[in-house]
């Protein structure tokens, strides 16, 4: 079968997802178009060079609705002959875009794709697209729906992670992200977001809080205790599904959960011929992709079974992998991954993650593939695995191999 290679991976810096965030003034279409243009320019592509743009995006309403992918293509310097496909697999949308593109290339459906995604969380709030699973009684009751924060706390309770462990992971994420910026490790991938006059709007992740320590996190109240224990009482639902637990320990708060930010990311994927045509050197091969459905109540444990599946499907072992990116949606998600595979925490999220830098839902999957590739190159290692937990109980994973 044809191999699918990554030729480039880039992202915007992540802006705070609120009124005073630097990217707040930009529309989703503009940020997306600028990201696509960066791929075209950096790689000297012609406007028709790729088969399609696959664009992940979770909250597909208002300016992010109406097939944002197509709008973004039309707003960009790419030709109108490139169509645009908007996809949503919640937090793994950006990764699913990459995986879809890679598998299209592998299957011979086109030479190259731009895959990635965007989320302007400060402009189009999470959840504003509604969700039957949360609100339709037949479904919500049958699936024991609880919000993600409760799910993250179920993980902590079920697998025995304390507040301190969760906070320690968050402190380390902040430390690593700060160190990575200090060491210019994101230089290859972060683009500068500019206005129509060429003036810089943002060139650096702005959500980070370097210097975060156990003491400052310890002062924060658990975010999901009220909705769990009082109104409307989601803990009762959690205990119906997990009746062997006595009560849910609420360990997550704003400081050890992923940040709400604006941002976009794109990956250029193509076959060998494509690289030769444009004189591009492949940076890595997309070795394997996978996805899985899991229990929707605990919801966020997907990285473990999807990793088991991708290993089994490809005859690999966890020890074959040199570096890991496990999206820091919540601290307990990463703690559970490390616990399940007994992997060295030093190999996981080497340059920090979503807790420190933020999690622009539709983009993150593509971001962490880029971050993983940069770090494999920096450390001169071969194999990396990126994985994310996904709302409603899913998981996705990608294995890349340097060439």
């Amino acid at each position: 079968m044809t191999d699918a290679y990554i030729y480039d991976a880039l992202r915007t810096p992540r802006g705070k997802g609120r009124k005073d965030g630097s990217l707040h003034e930009l529309t989703s279409v503009r940020l997306s178009a600028q990201t696509l243009n960066a791929v075209k320019e950096r790689n000297n592509l012609e406007g028709h060079a790729v088969e399609d743009v696959i664009w992940g995006n979770v909250t597909q309403v208002m300016e992010q609705g109406g097939c944002l992918a197509r709008s973004a293509v039309l707003a960009s310097d790419l030709d109108q002959s490139i169509p645009g496909l908007a996809i949503n697999r919640f937090c793994a949308s950006g990764m699913e875009a990459v995986n879809l593109a890679a598998n299209q290339v592998k299957g011979g459906a086109g030479e190259a794709y731009i895959a990635g995604g965007v989320e302007m969380m400060g402009r189009v709030p999470m959840g504003s697209d509604g969700a039957a699973i949360a609100v339709d009684p037949s479904l919500a009751m049958d699936t024991y729906f609880v919000p993600q924060g409760i799910s993250a706390d179920i993980i902590a309770t079920e697998y025995g992670f304390s507040r301190d462990q969760a906070d320690a992971l968050a402190v380390e994420s902040q430390r690593r992200a700060a160190a990575a910026w200090e060491d210019n490790r994101f230089d290859k991938s972060v683009i500068t977001v500019k206005d129509q006059n060429g003036l810089t709007i943002l060139d650096r992740d702005e959500y980070m809080r370097p210097g975060t320590d156990m003491q400052s996190l310890g002062a924060l109240n658990p975010s999901f205790q009220m909705m769990g224990e009082q109104m409307p009482g989601f803990d009762k639902i959690a205990l119906m599904k997990y009746p062997h637990l006595e009560k849910i320990h609420h360990v997550h708060h704003a400081g050890n959960s992923s940040g709400i930010v604006d941002g976009a990311a794109a990956v250029l994927i193509g076959n060998k011929e494509f690289g030769e045509k444009y004189g591009l050197k492949p940076r890595a091969r997309i070795k394997a992709t996978s996805k899985i459905g899991t229990d929707p109540t605990i919801m966020l444990t997907g990285p473990v079974p999807v990793t088991e599946k991708i290993m089994a499907d490809n005859g690999m072992n966890i020890s074959d992998i040199d570096l890991f990116e496990v999206n820091e949606a919540f601290a307990s998600v990463v703690l559970r991954f490390q616990q399940a595979f007994d992997v060295d925490p030093g190999l996981v999220n080497v340059n920090g993650g979503s807790i420190a830098m933020g999690h622009p839902l539709g983009a993150t999957g593509a971001i962490i593939i880029g971050t993983l590739l940069d770090e494999l190159e920096r450390q001169d290692k071969e194999l990396g695995l990126a994985t994310l937990c996904i709302a409603s109980g899913m998981g996705a994973a990608t294995i890349i191999e340097r060439v």
Binding site: G127, S128, G130, A134, V135, D136, P137, S138, A140, M141, Y144, F145, V146, M231, P232, G233, F234, K236, I237, L239, M240, P243, H244, L245, E246, K247
Partner: protein, 736 residues
């Protein structure tokens, strides 16, 4: 029978009066619906009629609701005609919607909203179920000033939900949040509160006159319901409106958490509300009808209606009272022992207007018992229930005394002294020497055989067991126990007394632990056993809660106290000798007792407690002796053990003749100890799962967990013949 009549007057008002012959309160039947439909057609077609008033011929009430038997009949009728029962139901419900919608639109042109005739409801009092759903379809509701009248939709309480448009109209009228207590809790409101909530429109001294006045002056705009007007928005927001979203998310969670998923009607109701809120009104009614049909088709709702409505009422009205015994209503009751039970019995008797002599060994002890009633009434007054005058009157009925001579004029004695055969025997003799010859003597024992206690009596045919549950004022069931020699008059006396104090009776024959405790004790023990096997205690309780039990067995053990459990185990062992099976549950209970962890009263048991007695969490110390197992069992395995261990006792009680009527077995279980109400009771549950499946599971459980799950011969026989309990015993019971 004519349920509805119509008169037309010179001014052009057609007054439709609902007055079902031979009933104190109107109930809707399909026949009645047909009559109403014809009258509405007549009034709408008659040019001389300008407006319609719908009222009731009953004093102080409009209507109590739908005849629930008729609803069940609709299903049966469709099946009898060879049709699909669900189709029969659905069609019948849609027909009902058609009639109510016809009243609501009142002949108007839907586009211009013109040409309709004003229709008003004039309610002399209480309107429940379809008794309120019909008024909700009119254009304006007038109610009387009657302070006792209640308005609401209590369907959920018998396992269904308002299915004649009440769900859809109430939500559209009030919004989902405001409608929630009415629909989900079946809350009934008095006139003032109903007006405040927007359920009714006006309170009038003469509601018929006010309604007449209104229909004669009604403008076309007054007839258009908000949901039929352009630009209607649901109060509080529809599900995908930002304000409505969180309410709807919260509603599912709250209902699921509260019902523990054990009540299909609540879920169906909520689904009808949600799905209905997303579409136009007529489509919403169709959705409501489909969900209502699904609930009626669910064997659970049929069982709930049968036990909680039909059979409960039958038992309260004396279904098992011996025939031909004269009225035995109690005038003066003597209560022996002013402890917690005695004090409660005195309270509920005084509440029923019965004179009470409350006796204990000294004046202080007797006074403390009476003070219980006082404290209870004071609490009520604080919450706006009752008045100081009523309290004084009620306290005046209770004489607290150490003097047995005061029992002289009593016609019933309820003995509630220390649970010891000797103590009770002595008391019986002493009191019988004082009371009148024809006085009935009842013991409120929960564990001692009545036949044994009756030996102390010189009049064993007048000796009976009346077993109250604790707390007496809250628990709805009273278990009446016939000793070997107990006569019919004693049974009638006990039943008439229970009717006076407005509780539900069951009558059983004497045997160890009678009926209720016979089932509850194995339930508690099964929970204890599982702990010894290393099942997490919280899982045992959660499993029970998800079956609809109010309290899991582990928590229940703490509530009833561990030393009581130990005492019962020792006494049973002493009585049964070698026949008593060794049990891991006993080992655990004796160990807990030795550790001094006696339950809530000791602020230490299977739970840890704070100083105030609030539960803090399960005591982890139990796992020092009984460590958690490596593997946690499946929830269903835990649940089936908890169910079968009780249900098999019910079957054995029936087999042994302790239980004489399956209705009592089912009603008693739900009211007595909160047995999975959605199932309709233990025997109904066996009918739902089917006796063949029950037999198969019991055999498997017996093989894995021991002979207590061995199927009784009766169950085996019924499974082999493919019989159901209500099929085999139901008709005979209903005829009794």
């Amino acid at each position: 029978m004519t349920d509805f009549t119509m008169t037309k007057d010179a001014e052009g008002v057609a007054t439709i009066t609902w007055d079902v012959p031979g009933k104190s309160m109107n109930v809707m039947s399909f026949d009645g619906l047909g009559q109403l439909n014809d009258l509405i057609d007549d009034a709408l077609a008659d040019d001389a009629v300008k407006g319609i008033v719908i009222t009731s011929g009953k004093d102080g009430s409009f209507a109590g609701g739908m005849d629930l038997n008729a609803l069940g009949g609709m299903k049966a009728a469709a099946a009898a005609e060879g049709g699909e029962p669900a189709q029969g139901l659905f069609d019948g419900i849609m027909q009902m919607h058609g009639l109510l919608r016809k009243i609501e639109l009142a002949g108007m042109d839907f586009k211009t909203k013109k040409g309709g005739k004003p229709v008003a409801a004039a309610l002399p009092g209480t309107a429940a179920g379809i008794g309120l759903e019909l008024p909700l379809a009119t254009h304006r509701i007038f109610v009387s000033e009657n302070p006792k009248a209640k308005y609401g939709l209590p369907e959920i309480l018998v396992g269904i939900f308002p299915g004649a448009g009440g769900t859809t109209r109430m939500v559209r009228k009030l919004g989902a949040v405001a409608a929630a207590p009415l629909l989900l809790e079946g809350k009934m409101l008095d006139a003032k509160k109903a007006k405040g909530a927007g359920v009714i429109d006006e309170i009038a001294a003469d509601p018929v006159a006010a309604a007449r006045e209104w229909v004669l002056n009604g403008k076309p705009a007054d007839l258009v319901k908000p949901w039929d007007a352009k630009g209607y928005k649901m109060p509080g927001g529809a599900p995908y409106h930002p304000a409505g979203f969180m309410n709807f998310v919260g509603a599912s969670a709250m209902v699921n958490g509260k019902t523990q998923g054990a009540f299909p009607a609540a879920k169906a109701l909520l689904s009808a509300v949600y799905e209905g809120a997303l579409v136009d009104f007529d489509t919403a009614l169709r959705i409501e009808a489909r969900y209502f049909t699904s609930v009626m088709m669910n064997p659970s709702s049929e069982a709930m209606i049968r036990s909680l409505f039909v059979n409960k009422e039958a038992l309260e009205k004396g279904a098992v009272r011996p025939a031909g015994v004269a009225d035995q209503r109690v005038k003066k009751v003597g209560v022996l022992g002013a402890g917690m039970m005695g004090a409660g019995i005195a309270l509920v008797s005084a509440q029923a207007g019965i004179e009470v002599v409350l006796v204990d060994r000294d004046q202080d002890a007797a006074d403390r018992g009476k003070a219980y009633t006082e404290a209870y009434l004071d609490k009520g007054i604080k919450r706006g229930k009752g008045t100081p005058e009523k309290k004084e009157a009620m306290l005046g009925l209770i004489t607290a005394t150490p003097d047995l001579e005061q029992l002289k004029g009593c016609d019933l004695i309820v003995e509630a002294v220390f649970e010891d055969t000797g103590v009770k025997a002595e008391m019986t003799k002493k009191v019988e020497a004082i009371i009148p010859e024809d006085c009935i003597f009842a013991s409120n024992t929960s564990t001692l055989p009545i036949t044994e206690l009756a030996k102390a009596s010189s009049r064993p045919e007048q000796f009976i067991g009346i077993h109250f549950f604790s707390p007496v004022e809250r628990m709805l069931l009273v278990e009446i126990i016939k000793g070997k020699e107990t006569g019919d008059r004693a049974v009638a006396k006990a039943l008439d007394y229970v009717r006076q104090i407005r509780k539900t009776p069951i009558v059983v024959n004497d045997a160890r632990f009678f009926y209720a405790n016979r089932c509850i004790i194995p339930y508690i023990n099964e929970g204890a056993r599982m702990i010894t096997e290393g099942v997490p205690p919280q899982m045992v309780d959660h499993a029970a809660q998800q079956l609809g039990f109010p309290v899991g067995p582990v928590q229940l053990t703490d509530e009833t106290s561990i030393d009581l459990g130990a005492k019962i185990a020792r006494a049973t062992k002493a009585a049964m000798g070698n026949a008593y099976p060794a049990s891991a549950a006993d080992d655990l209970i004796f160990w807990m007792e030795a550790e001094g962890r006696l339950g809530r009263k000791a602020k230490a048991g299977f739970f840890d407690y704070d100083e105030k007695g609030k539960r803090l969490g399960y005591w982890k110390g139990v796992q020092d002796k009984y460590p958690l197992a490596e593997e946690t069992p499946e929830l269903i395995e835990v649940q089936e053990r908890l169910m079968f261990v009780q249900v098999l006792e019910a079957v054995r009680a029936l087999e042994e003749g302790v239980l004489m009527d399956i209705r009592e077995g089912d009603v008693g279980a739900i009211l007595g100890w909160g047995f999975a109400p959605w199932s309709g009771g233990p025997l109904s549950w066996l009918d739902i799962i089917g006796t063949p499946y029950a037999l198969e599971r019991c055999e498997q459980l017996a093989a894995t967990h021991g002979p207590r799950f061995e199927p009784p011969a009766l169950l085996r026989e019924m499974a082999e013949k493919g019989q159901s309990f209500y099929g085999r015993f139901g008709a005979k019971a209903a005829a009794a």
